[in-house]
Amino acid sequence: MNVIAPHLPILPIVLPLLAAGALLLVSESQRTVRRSIALASIAGQLVTALTLLYLTTDSVPEIWSRGIGVYSLGAWPAPFGIVLVVDRLSAMMLALGAIVALATLVYSMSHWDRPGQPFHPLFQLLTMGLNGAFLTGDLFNLFVFFEVLLAASYGLVLRGVGTVRVRTGLHYIAINLFASFLFLIGVALIYGTAGTLNMADLLGRVQALEADERALFDAGAWILGIAFLTKAGSWPLNSWLPGAYSVSMAPLAAGFAMMTKVGVYAVLRIGTLLGEDQAAAAILGEILYYTGIVTLVSGTIGMLATLHLRRLVSYSVIVSSGLLLASLGLGIEALTAPVLFYLATSVLTTAAFFLVAGMTDRTRLFFDAAGAEVPKAPPASSPGAVPETGTRALPGYMGFGVHEPDPYGTEEEVGTPIPIAIAFLGSMFVCCVLLVTGLPPMPSFIAKFALLSTVLETAPAAGEAGAGWGLVVAILVSGLVGIVALTRIGIRLFWTVTQRRTPRLHVLEASPVAFLVLLCLALVAASGPVMGFLQATARSLHDPGTYIESVLSARYADTGRGTQP
């Protein structure tokens, strides 16, 4: 263990890279081999992530003291070489990403990964980009890994057929390319003024800057922040999100659940490293709160405005982004732990909901390539309609498209047994609704409750009473509106459907959804220890000294090379 453990941080990047390479060599026809490679890689990532999570909890102090693991690539020490850093936050994000990736991959194995376009290699590269973004300790590699995951996601969004996918894909790529250039400009400004790209090295260099250089640095940090907000799906920059997420295939949309959180992660990581007081623009500062609130409101309005389930879930992603950004924007340290709890539940929720949405699409008889409903005359042979061979005249109400059971018929059953697939879908849908809106007994309720009570306790003391109340009202109203929107769509999907085709659910599709929902319930049961871990995470985030010291003092010893000079 002591030999392997120091090398663990590189595994989440190397594993998917190797798997993607291997998958390119295996021909499309050998589906079992391809699936085994993909599954083995994701399972390996999950095991690695959980091990890293365990190592960061100080349970094994002889490997990493203070819960921060540093891996110097090429054994170059930190400010000059490239480092990977594992702390509690990165380990948590890695584990979340691996869980979502596992569920998504299993789900896609039912039929979504059929030959056509290379699904598995792109998916592996997506996980590689995600893991790398969480692990990297310097700004430029953050850009590189963002690009890796975005490039893979471009390919995945376009998967499938239909003009609508290509059109939304075009918008998605254009906006994200533009954001990438902003990212580069921000990074260049920061390098040009501070002279370093290492996140741990930034703070010390920034504090030593002259006033005129400092202004330039702040401009760079702001531009970088705008790039992060674009990825996070924050308000004026999120027009690509509902389109891209709702037209891509269901399991991919679920896999993308993690992608907006990368933006939130980057804001949190760099914001806390630059500190609240030391840097004037610790990634956007107060603006973050207002953007978050507007994002929350606009996402809520979007939820209310759409009747298409996948679009609605996409808007709920925006709502959760807005909630996270607004809470972080308040700048109250005590909020970080509930925010992280909410982040974790929202990732699992969104993934589960997209998977459910992929299955409910099939209860509809007609839909176009995008999964949206297409109005079309019902076929005469549908259940409930009067058979054409009958001698009776068509009852008047049939003309309005209402298909009630034939009042004169005797062959019609009074009660129909609910098919188990619909029962499963319905219950999972209800669970997802409870999760999205944050109602008990779901972990999102605990997260929101902790968030709201902390805001009410600490905001007045921090002089943010007005902003705190604004956040509380926005969260509560968005929850209520979310219930209304989801109930409405639930009724449309499960109650008022007369033309329902009972979907055949594959066990490979049903089990990941059940797994994610059960995991959420387990999170409720374990909310005490989880909250404890997250509070430790928040403490270490808001005390960047430990992080900076660990990264900058890391020498060859940490890479298992012994004590070379």
């Binding site: 376009l158 918008h171 390319l177 250039f181 990074v187």
Partner: protein, 114 residues
């Protein structure tokens, strides 16, 4: 030199943003290319401009860092060029696909109603 350099970047960005906001896909891709040139030049400029400053140390050279160009922005520009180039190429493919599928080069896949 700095003024000319800054003007060049500014012109590229202005032209790039203008082209990016056009409704035709080809203009969008040209705009993105111009922006990527501007970004790369900008990163390069952040390593400070100078003449006769090699990024590597000659064996008989002095040790003063002012004599040498900063090699890091050059490495960054190289990476950024590769990534920007690849994603722009991908964008071009998507653009062609949309043109083929929708029969128009409007970014929304259909001509606006007039």
């Amino acid at each position: 030199m700095e003024a000319i350099y800054a003007l060049a970047i500014g012109t590229l960005v202005a032209a790039g943003v203008w082209a990016l906001l056009r409704p035709r896909t080809f203009q969008v891709v040209v705009g993105l290319s111009l922006l990527s040139y501007a970004t790369n030049l900008f990163i390069f400029g952040m390593g400070r401009l100078g003449e006769n400053r090699p990024p590597i140390l000659p064996p008989d050279g002095g040790a003063s860092p002012t004599l040498y160009a900063d090699p890091l922005p050059q490495a960054l520009v190289l990476t950024a060029i590769v990534i920007g180039f690849a994603t722009t190429a991908l964008f071009l493919v998507v653009l062609l696909a949309l043109r083929g599928l929708s029969g128009t080069d409007h970014v929304d896949g259909r001509e606006p109603d007039r």
